[in-house]
Structure formats: structure tokens, C-alpha cells
């Protein structure tokens, strides 16, 4: 079994040690907490797997801090919302499904899941959503100014956002991606993007012109990050590089939330450079593809995989699924990005995506986890 250079959860472990007993809505909204968190993240004790992890960690700490401290209007988004739109509108995006994953990594999910059950949410609902609903009911999440959902990949986000919009008394903006066969699919979605963008900008006191300028900037940055990301994907396909799928699965958060920011570019650039520098594993491991989600709390399954001489070299959700965007046509570009996602529509699209990746990454087997 290869030695892993750091423990991805060590930072979370440090936070748990210091704050878990005192965790409360007030603590999460205190400046002191965030100053301590930022100091800890810079501490030499916080060893990250890759240098790029530090870039994303700093980004998420800053964004989350801003959201809790109310420095900018907070917009809760589900996974297919293009972050470029929210960053451009002067708001801070918050992805509660990703927050649920962090909560689960910290071992706190059962407490919030129980709270959701008390409220009347059946245990048949998705555990991510029950966890985030419970956390919201306990006022542990940054309070939103608006909720923004896309109708894919699943119904849960739309439905829990609808509940949350009443809980927080804020608007729920819902983007509908028409099915691929609809003749006006992109045009209608682009109109929706524009409308939503203007609503978000107005929350931040911005006008249409500001939004357009913001989009020009975020789309430019997103394109730069995409170039590095695609290069990284090529490297992973062609070589036996050291980047392990169990870590890359966590980078879905970067792909979802950092696109359109300077940190997004920095993350992929730094990661690409480091992966090149570290060279290849050369151990002839069996190459596996991982489909769907990763277990966040108990991760022993990856050790089991490694003990059988196999490793995850390709994951379902971490690939760029869109092309370079045109900053002169931001809404159409964002509509193309979102509607091009392989989960937006019939299962055939997902199957096609997985087959393409399996071939490109030369995988010898696959694991589906849910």
C-alpha cells in the first residue's frame, strides 16, 4: 500500500478538537472563530496532500466566513448552478450539499439527520438533504438571502430548497433546464440565467452593467481554470500519475464552487504542476473508475481497494463537461455549460459519459457507490 503524504481530514480534525463541544449558531457567526480557523489553516500542523489543497482550503474558508459573517448576500446553490453567475453578481455562493459532506466527514451527520426526522422528513429521503435540513433547522448554516436551484441532477435540491425558502423567508429562484430534445432548450435557459443573474445582482446592489462586467471577468477566469483542468485530465488519462481518485473526488467542490475565481485558476494550475513534478506510480495497479458519491466518514473502502492492488484513477463527477465559454455571450455560454451536464436529462447521457471516461482512462473495472 502506498504511503499517503498527508491526511486530508487533518484540518477538520484540528477544528473538531477545538470547537466541537462548543459548536453553536453564535460561535459560527463570531469573528474570533474565523480568525482562529484562518490561523489554523496556515499552521504547519495543517499538512495537505497537495499544495493545491491549500489554495482551495483558503478559498472555502474565506467564502464560508463571508457567508456566516454576512459580508455579502449569500446564495444557496445546488450542484449544477454555474458558480460563475453567482460570483459575477457580487454574491457569495454556498453549496449546502457540499456542506452536508463536510458535516458527514466530521461525523456530525446523525445529529442533524435526527433533527430533520423530528421535523417530519421521512427517512426515505436523501441523507445529504436530511442532514442539511437538520443543520438549517438548528441554524448552523449561513443564512441565505436567496436560494437558487437547477432542476437536475435530482429532485431533492428543488424540494428541500422550497422548504428552506419558507424557513428563511427568502426567494427560491428555480432554473429549469429543458430536456435535450426541446428545440429552444439553450435559448430558454439562457433567458432564465439572465433573469436570475439580475435578481442576484440586485441583492448585492448591482445593476445590469455591473453584472455583465462581472460575467466577462468570471467567464474569463473560468476558461483559464478549464485549460489547466483539461491538461490535468489528459495527464491522468495518459500516465500512471500519483493523483489518487479518493482525493480527486473531493475536488468536485472546486469544480462546482471555484469556477470564475482567481483561486479556481490557481488551484488547477498548482495541481497540474505538482502532479507533473511528482511523476508516476509505476506500480501496475488495477485501474478503477468510481461512480457516484464518495463515502465521507468511513473511508476504509479505499484501503480495501488498495490492499487488492487497485486504485481509483477516474471518478464520475470531476471532469470538465463543458467547452470554453464566450465572455461576450455569457448567458448562452452558461446555459450551454449547465444543459450540457450529463446528468441533465435521460440516463443515456450519463451512460455515454461513463463509457467515454472508462475508455479514455483505460479503466479495468468500476465501483458504484450510493
Amino acid at each position: 500500500m502506498r504511503e499517503r503524504p498527508g491526511n486530508g481530514n487533518s484540518f477538520l480534525g484540528m477544528l473538531k478538537e477545538r470547537f466541537l463541544d462548543r459548536l453553536s449558531p453564535q460561535l459560527l457567526r463570531s469573528r474570533l472563530l474565523w480568525e482562529t480557523v484562518e490561523a489554523l489553516s496556515r499552521s504547519p500542523l495543517n499538512r495537505t496532500q497537495w499544495k493545491a489543497d491549500r489554495v482551495s482550503l483558503n478559498f472555502f474558508i474565506r467564502q464560508t466566513r463571508d457567508a456566516y459573517l454576512g459580508k455579502k448576500p449569500v446564495v444557496w446553490c445546488n450542484l449544477l448552478v454555474p458558480s460563475e453567475l453567482v460570483h459575477a453578481s457580487g454574491c457569495v455562493p454556498f453549496f449546502p450539499e457540499m456542506a452536508a459532506a463536510v458535516i458527514a466527514s466530521a461525523g456530525l451527520a446523525p445529529r442533524f439527520i435526527d433533527r430533520a426526522a423530528e421535523e417530519g422528513f421521512s427517512t426515505d429521503a436523501c441523507s445529504y438533504h436530511r442532514c442539511l435540513l437538520g443543520a438549517a433547522l438548528e441554524d448552523m448554516l449561513p443564512r441565505p438571502h436567496a436560494l437558487l436551484s437547477v432542476n437536475y441532477p435530482c429532485d431533492s435540491a428543488i424540494l428541500s430548497f422550497r422548504y428552506l425558502s419558507r424557513l428563511y423567508r427568502v426567494p427560491h429562484l428555480a432554473l429549469e433546464v429543458p430536456l435535450p430534445h426541446h428545440p429552444r432548450r439553450k435559448e430558454l435557459l439562457a433567458e432564465g440565467m439572465r433573469e436570475v443573474g439580475l435578481s442576484l445582482a440586485s441583492l448585492a446592489g448591482m445593476g445590469e452593467r455591473d453584472l455583465e462586467e462581472g460575467l466577462e471577468r468570471t467567464i474569463e477566469l473560468s476558461n483559464q481554470a478549464l485549460e489547466h483542468q483539461l491538461e490535468l485530465e489528459r495527464l491522468r488519462q495518459e500516465t500512471d500519475c500519483l493523483l489518487d481518485g479518493r482525493d480527486v473526488m473531493g475536488y468536485v467542490s472546486v469544480m462546482v464552487a471555484c469556477m470564475g475565481t482567481a483561486e479556481g485558476v490557481d488551484f488547477y494550475r498548482t495541481l497540474l504542476r505538482e502532479v507533473r513534478e511528482r511523476g508516476t506510480a509505476g506500480d501496475g495497479s488495477v485501474r478503477l473508475m468510481w461512480m457516484h458519491l464518495k463515502p465521507w466518514y468511513q473511508q476504509g473502502i479505499f484501503d480495501t481497494v488498495a490492499s487488492h492492488g487497485a486504485r481509483v484513477v477516474c471518478e464520475e463527477y470531476t471532469h470538465a463537461y463543458w467547452d470554453k465559454m464566450d465572455p461576450r455571450h455569457p448567458f448562452t455560454s452558461l446555459a450551454e455549460k449547465t444543459s450540457g451536464h450529463f446528468l441533465a436529462g435521460e440516463a443515456e447521457r450519463r451512460i455515454r459519459h461513463l463509457l467515454e471516461k472508462a475508455e479514455a482512462y483505460r479503466v479495468q473495472g468500476a465501483i458504484h457507490y450510493n
Binding site: G120, C154, E176, E346, A347
Partner: protein, 352 residues
Amino acid sequence: MEGAQGNVPEVNWFCTYTPVEILEAAGLSHRRLTGIPEEAERADAYLHPSMCPYLKACLAEGLSLPGFRRHAVFVNACDAMRRLYDTWSELFPDAFVHLVDLPRGNSPRDLDILAGELRLLSRRMSEYFCVEVTGEALLESCRKREEKRSAYLESSAGLPASQRALLSLDLQSSRWEAPRRAEERPDSAGGVPVAVVGNFLNPHGLLRQLETAGADVVLLDICNGDRPFLAPIPVEATGEDPFSQLAAGYLKRSHCARMQDFEGRVGLLLDKLEETGAAGVIYASLKFCDPYIYEFPSLEKALEARGFPVLRLESDYLDAHAGQVSTRVEAFLEMIAGGRGWSPGGPGRWER
């Protein structure tokens, strides 16, 4: 448009947002599939076990249908229905299998999406079945639908819930000729008046259990009950495109939990509760149905705030375990009756 042995093709559908007017305008026979709940496990080979039991029962039925009766129109109503569409297309490649998108809101853009979908359905059906859907035929089928709606409202009054659900299903499909159960109409008055709110319930299962437990279901707000017939879907020869009119009608009618406008739905429901004299609400839905799972806490609060007690029941669609449900329902009905000075067997209906 004939099957291999001269059989007339039949199109199956699953959700009341299916624009059956278009199927009728194309001259096609159609049927809302109810599935075979006893055989739902057959679907486990193709669908996840934790999935809507109604749709699993439908797949079980689909597997036993002859080829010319496997055509199906799905609505993109929920994740589960989209997955059944995927499976159906894969299993029955020779059948006409189509997915109609359904926006959740009621904005002009949502209307554009749905109207485009209806035109596309009409075109695809015309190509596959070699039929034509004319504007006149569509107006005529919309008029007939209104007739059926009136027939339901008339014939369902006073029917017990299980029979109302059967009547509703009859009238939703094209085979219907006349309200077949009008003459076997037992008077269900005398029980505790309640509303049943939910998705798709088994008329021979849970609904019958409610009746046996002493519930007089005065409002059956489920998608195989009163709900599809509550509001008209007006499509008229005004010169406006009938597909757009039809789309607008579907997006404006009384909604189920799947649609976005919760406040509108609650408002309508409260009006109906007042109008029908319901003293409580039984919120009964099939397991694994996300729209209802996520709606329940909000709806429960809204109803209780207006003085309507709520009982939550879940159904596996087969409803073989009647005992436990009956005990809970009886306790709920007794609680309502006790709190309102009503007693079973007392004179006439309970009055608020």
C-alpha cells in the same frame, strides 16, 4: 396503426400531467397504467428497490403486456418517473416511448417549455403511428375531457373513496364509456369526514382500509382521485394556438406536491377543506416519493395552524398490512370525533 395481429395499439401513461388530449386527438386508445402491485418485485431486476412502488408495479405490468400495448408516454415529473422512462425505452425498443418535460412553475418561459413539448409529442406521435393531429381534433378532445370532468364531479358525489378512485381512473383513460359504478353507490356518510391528500393510492388497499376504519373521505386530493378533475383546462377556438392554451391549462390547474407553488396549493386545499366540511386530513402517500416527503412538514404546519389535525400514512402500494394502519386511523378518527363532539353512529353527518 394496427399491431401485428390487427390489434389496435394502446398508449400507457402514468402521471396526470400527461396531455391525454393529444393522444385522443391522434385517435389513439390510451390508459393510465395502475400496475400490478403484487408483482412489483419483478421490477427489482431493473429498478432500485427504494423506488416509487407505483412505478415498479407499472413496470411489472409492462413486462407482461403484449408488444402492441407497450407504447408509453412519460412525464418528467420526478426522478423516479424519468428512470422508468429510461428503463422502458431500453426494455421495449420497438415501442413508442416518449418523455414529456414538465416545468414546475407558471412563468411565460415555463409555458414556452411545455407548449414546445406538446407540439413535439404531437409530431413524434404523428410520425410513429402515421396519424395526424389537427387543431380541430385537439379542440374536440379538449371538449370531451371537459365532459368527462363534469361526469366525474356528478357521479363521484357521495361515493366512498375507493370507488371514487376507481371512477377517476376509468375516466382518465380513453376506454371509458359511462360511469360504471353509479348504481352501486353505498352511502358513506356517517363516518368522520376527512380529506385524503396524497399521490397515487391503491383503491383496493389503503383507501378501502380507511373506509373500514370509519373515515368518510369527503375530499380525495390524490392524483387518481378528485384532483385531476377539480379545475377545467380550457382550450377554445379563439385563434390562439391550442397547444399553448393546453400548456397554460396544465400549468394553472390544481397542483400536486411536485409543483412549485406551495402557497397556491395550500390555499386551494384549505378552501376545499372548508367547502367539504372535512374535520381532519390524512396525508397518505406512496413510499419513496420525494415531492410528498419534502412537502409534508410544511403542509402539516399550515393545516394544523388552521385547526385541521393531520395523520401521516405511508403506503407500499400493495397495502397488505392493514392492521397497523387501521389502528392508527381509528385512533385519529376518535381523536377528531372526541374533540368535536361527534360520535360514530350518531345522527347524520358531523357538523363543524
